[in-house]
């Protein structure tokens, strides 16, 4: 059986690459950490991979605003490669800073013709005006997202960001709802469970195909039950007897999709 290959994109300031790599490896994928310079120079071909993962961090220091410089670089220097990759039905996931990058490239929420790469939403400063590191309850929504297929209706994951407030014009939000593109919502509208004040409590979205997925929470930080902040309170966490954390299913789904669809 072919082993799905994941390209984990790095650049200056990327810092969740190692645990994202571990997550995909645990899910059964072959992984490569690739600096964006090597994609731009052609030393590495994106088309050799099945999944593109843009991990969390502070790409280029989040100068100007979170993720924007990496987004501009991708949009202008990797336009064709990205369009071919997406057009081939392959998978893209952006976590935290990666989500910010996907939104700023326009790959999320995307349009009917993804070739346009126009930004239609944004991730703004948290309403608390601070960096927030905390665990939040998420409600899984009905969506075409391949990463969350069959996942639990309630998922518990950590967030750690200062710019995570998803906001968009009313028509874009209406489209998202109409197309079922909202993948995760913060389970409680109030602060702090909605840690950033996102519109419609949006924590993660996918494109219309469900193959491009971005989220602010960090599934790669909940791979085993010992990552759960209350694992010592056995009754709550160990009920299922599983040692697997909620986050791993997202990576497994991606790997299984690649296998099932022989991408």
């Amino acid at each position: 059986m072919m082993q799905p290959k994941v390209l984990i994109l790095r650049t200056a300031g990327t810092n969740c690459d190692a645990e994202t790599e571990t997550a995909f490896q645990l899910a059964g994928a072959e992984t490569a950490l690739v600096h964006i310079q090597n994609l731009i120079s052609g030393k590495v071909n994106l088309s050799d991979y099945h999944i593109l993962a843009i991990p969390g961090g502070f790409s280029y220091g989040d100068d100007i605003s979170a993720g924007i410089l990496l987004a501009v670089e991708m949009k202008h220097k990797l336009t064709d490669e990205l369009n071919r990759f997406v057009g081939a039905g392959k998978l893209v996931i952006g976590i935290c800073n990666g989500f910010q990058v996907l939104v700023r490239t326009g790959l999320l929420p995307g349009t009917d013709s993804s070739a346009e790469m126009t930004q239609r939403a944004t991730l703004a400063m948290n309403t608390s005006a601070k960096f927030e590191c905390r665990w939040v309850d998420l409600e899984t929504q009905e969506s075409p997202c391949v990463f969350t297929k069959g996942i639990k209706p309630c998922v518990y994951l950590p967030v750690a960001h200062a710019e995570g407030r998803f906001t968009a014009p009313a028509d874009v939000l209406a489209d998202l709802e109409a197309n079922n593109q909202v993948v995760f919502r913060y389970a409680d509208s109030g602060y702090p469970n909605n840690p950033n004040g996102s519109d419609a409590d949006i924590a993660g979205i996918c494109d219309a195909t469900g193959r491009i997925f971005g989220l602010m929470p960090h599934p790669e930080r909940f791979l085993t039950k010992w990552n759960h902040p209350r694992w010592t309170r056995i009754a709550e966490v160990q009920g299922s007897g599983s040692e697997e954390g909620d986050g791993l299913a997202i990576f497994k789904n991606a790997v299984n999709y690649v296998k099932a669809n022989r991408l």
Binding site: N15, T22, G57, G61, C133
Partner: protein
């Protein structure tokens, strides 16, 4: 000689002129040191250049060479005959480690950080630094570059460790201080607090290193001299822990460009602050965490390909210290015009001394240069060949072809005269506060108000608003968070991480710090700091057997005999209790001259003598870790260890305006037995929760456990084991005696637990209750606290509401 280099005329200078040169050049050299330099150059028949004298001043600074800890001290205690101590560091710190002789200590006191064993593949490095003076003047930049600097210490240890955890401890003035009371030229404590937290947050978060342990303390004496301790733990392959430099290796600078920032940082931090220090803008460095992240990314690749033989960071003293230290045993030549500059116009000595951040120096065999440069280019990092390591045993610096410094390594590193300092210690006498039990039941029916005030006091209250601004989950390995409990908001005793994902082997990091006890006796303060750090390790499931310590002394001016006497007391305790517990020191640092002088009034203020003890412990399986929040109703609550009437320097005395005289003593035989048996009980699965009993005593500890777990408690002080005649309820409730814990045990494990811990004094206090009521009955039979956990939690979370 280059026209941009000046000769410093010291050959014919008299004493007054020598001191003027030292003072006006921010050299921080004393007369004896200036005269030693004068004699050295007299024999050479020439004056030193500015580059030379600056190099010597940096290398000989308190900050770089720790001369107080190496000096000969004539110490006299309480009027007794004086004792001569040949160096505090070798006598009390280094000797403790040698006597303990743990086989898992890989490298101690020799590299930029201490190294201990972790598993078959990796070792751990740990270092804690301070960045006090810069943080007083520019809190954001000072604190950010503090954390940036200590991360580079890990990266500069062995052949480079991957930074995996940050720990930060801050000491500030009181946030509610009136602006009118602010000493001249200082920033308000609130401003310092905010700036320091933001600086550490922005640097640590951007580097992608979890900040999962720390503490924040408040005392008005930190107003002009805040303390900022920054620590970093790193993970390093076992075969990358040694370094060497060979003649012919290239001196390569990696990282950021050099500017005029941070010049004289080393010498500046080796002097007192005064009301004019705020104008010394250039002594504070400017941080760029993304640059540092890129350096880590590049150098760890180069390390794994074995491209360099040695590495160190450019910290205090910049290139002068980094190259001077690396070439100490062989020699080096450097060409300053090759240095990549931020802007034009720097004099050669400025390039040589600049403490511009995010720079490392490595020793590269010439045949590896092109591969190294390729890796750096791929990560957008500059790598510049500055010169060569030689076999000349000289430090030779050139600028545009002309030699601007030519110093013998021997004189530079060993020419510093060993000072002789006087130290005295006289035990203070403070008014005592009697028990307030008599008033109970009359006007003030309980200790409810005291408990609430203690929980709300800044030193004890929740630090959640700060902790949540730090990313403590990045790298995916944190398994015990700084905040724990049913609502993820209780105060954890220590953090636990798994640095190798997929392995259950863990690292515990904790700290202990008790400056208030220094007001009674710095010996007890230091002893208590060690005991507290170890308690915190044990409370989450660590063991004494696998714990190493770091010492960070922040003190006043050691040229004053009374300040130095306090330092001697604390250092003695370090030896006595590290050896008693069998926990070696692996690294440490001191920051002295934390004093403020008002130049108009001449008023002088020193910080409380402050020793931070950081502890690191390796645990075989994180599955056995426990947290401090109570887990289930009907479980049993015990106090472990004897309580004594030890309220000197306690928070309870503090809220009533007293210091007292009986600060907590450490009884290491009892303490060691307690910790060893408790570790064993925890690792046998007999303990559901465990909390260190420290600030605010039993009262605060049980309250925190209850509200963190979301359950009430019904407790009685009758069974509290006492080591003396104490029976006053308030003393039992709030005494801060060392080596004590509160534990929660399931009823079915009662017998097994009690058997397991036999030989250790324990007292059954009562049970966890489903209802949120929180009741403590005193020895008199009356309830002395009767409230609900919501009231207690709300008091403890005061800083979150304000």
């Amino acid at each position: 000689m280059s026209s941009t280099v000046n000769e410093i005329n010291i050959l014919n200078a008299d004493d007054a002129e020598l001191m003027r040169i030292s003072r006006e050049g921010t050299l921080s050299l004393n007369l004896n040191e200036m005269k030693t330099i004068q004699t050295h150059f007299g024999a050479l028949g020439r004056n030193p250049t500015d580059v030379e004298i600056e190099t010597i001043a940096q290398t000989w600074s308190e900050h770089c060479v720790h001369k107080t800890f190496k000096s000969i001290i004539r110490y006299s205690e309480d009027g007794k005959a004086p004792e001569q101590i040949d160096g505090l560091f070798p006598t009390y710190i280094q000797r403790a480690t040698e006597d303990i002789a743990k086989p898992w200590c890989v490298s101690v006191f020799s590299d930029n950080a201490g190294i201990i064993e972790f598993d078959e593949t990796f070792n751990l490095v740990f270092k804690v630094e301070t960045h006090n003076h810069p943080s007083a003047i520019e809190p954001y930049g000072g604190a950010g570059t503090g954390i940036g600097g200590v991360i580079r210490d890990s990266l500069g240890t062995g052949l480079g460790a991957k930074p995996i955890l940050n720990t930060d401890v801050f000491c500030f003035g009181m946030s509610d201080m009136p602006y009118t009371a602010l000493p001249k030229g200082t920033l308000h404590p609130k401003r310092v607090f905010k700036g320091v937290v933001a600086g550490v947050r922005d640097y640590g978060n951007r580097m992608g290193i979890p900040t999962a342990n720390g503490a924040i303390l408040f005392d008005s004496r930190y107003t002009a001299n805040p303390l900022v301790f920054c620590g970093n733990v790193g993970l390093i392959p076992r075969n990358r822990c040694e370094k060497s430099v060979e003649p012919g290796d290239l001196v390569v600078a990696v990282g950021g460009q050099t500017g005029r920032d941070g010049i004289h940082g080393a010498t500046f931090s080796s002097a007192e602050l005064d009301d004019t220090s705020e104008s010394l803008g250039s002594v504070v460095q400017i941080g760029n965490p993304i640059m540092e992240k890129k350096i880590v990314d590049a150098l760890l690749q180069a390390r794994d390909r074995n491209l360099y033989r040695s590495i160190t960071d450019c910290g205090a003293g910049g290139f002068s210290s980094a190259v001077g230290e690396m070439g100490e045993d062989i020699g080096a030549e450097v060409h300053l015009e090759r240095v990549s500059l931020k802007y034009e116009g720097l004099a050669p000595w400025e390039i040589w001394l600049s403490e511009a951040q995010e720079r490392m120096v490595i020793a590269v065999p010439p045949e590896n240069l092109s591969e190294l440069v390729a890796i750096c280019e791929a990560e957008f990092v500059e790598a510049t060949v500055l010169g060569t390591f030689t076999d000349s045993h000289r430090l030779q610096v050139f600028y545009e072809g002309a030699i601007v410094a030519d110093l013998e390594m021997e004189f530079l590193h060993n020419g510093l005269p060993k000072p002789v300092k006087a130290a005295v210690w006289q035990p203070p006498k403070h008014p005592e506060m009697p028990s307030r039990d008599e008033g109970i039941g009359v006007g003030n029916p309980s200790y409810m108000d005291d408990l609430r005030r203690l929980l709300a006091s800044p030193n004890i209250a929740s630090k959640e608003s700060v902790i949540r601004q730090y990313d403590h989950g990045v790298q995916g390995g944190v398994v015990i968070n700084p905040l724990v409990g049913v609502a993820n908001d209780g105060p954890s005793d220590a953090c636990v991480i798994t640095p190798v994902l997929g392995s259950r082997k863990g690292v515990v990091i904790a700290n202990g710090i008790n400056p208030k006890y220094s007001d009674v006796d710095p010996y007890l303060s230091a002893a208590s700091a060690i005991d507290e750090a170890l308690r915190n390790i044990v409370a989450v499931g660590g063991t004494l057997e696998k714990t190493a310590l770091l010492d960070n002394f922040c003190w006043g001016n050691p040229d004053k005999p009374d300040r130095l006497g306090e330092l001697v007391r604390a250092a003695k305790a370090c030896y006595d209790f590290a050896t008693a517990y069998g926990t070696p020191f692996i690294s440490g640092k001191d920051s002295l001259y934390n004093e403020y002088r008002d130049t108009t009034t001449g008023e002088q203020r020193a910080i409380p003598s402050t020793l931070l003890i950081s502890a690191i412990c390796v645990i075989p399986d994180i599955c056995n870790a426990v947290t401090m929040d109570v887990k289930a109703p009907d479980n049993l609550i015990y106090v472990v260890g004897n309580t004594y009437a030890e309220l000197g320097g306690s928070h309870y005395f503090g809220i009533h305006g007293f210091i007292g005289n009986s600060a907590p003593v450490v009884r290491p035989d009892d303490g060691k037995r307690t910790m060893e048996r408790l570790s064993s009980a925890i690792n046998s699965g007999l303990v559901r929760s465990c909390h260190d009993c420290s600030e605010g005593g039993i009262g605060v500890a049980v309250a925190e456990m209850a509200f963190a777990g979301g359950y009430g408690m019904r407790l009685n002080l009758d069974n509290v084991p006492i080591g003396d005649e104490t029976d006053a309820d308030d003393y039992l409730l709030f005494s801060e005696s060392n080596s004590r814990f509160i534990v929660e045990v399931e009823p079915q494990h009662r017998e097994a637990y009690e058997n397991h811990i036999a030989g250790v004094p324990i007292g059954y206090l009562g049970t966890v209750t489903e209802s949120p009521e929180f009741v403590i009955t005193g020895k008199t039979g009356h309830p002395i606290v009767e409230t609900s956990i919501d009231v207690l939690k709300s008091a403890w979370q005061t800083p979150l509401h304000s």
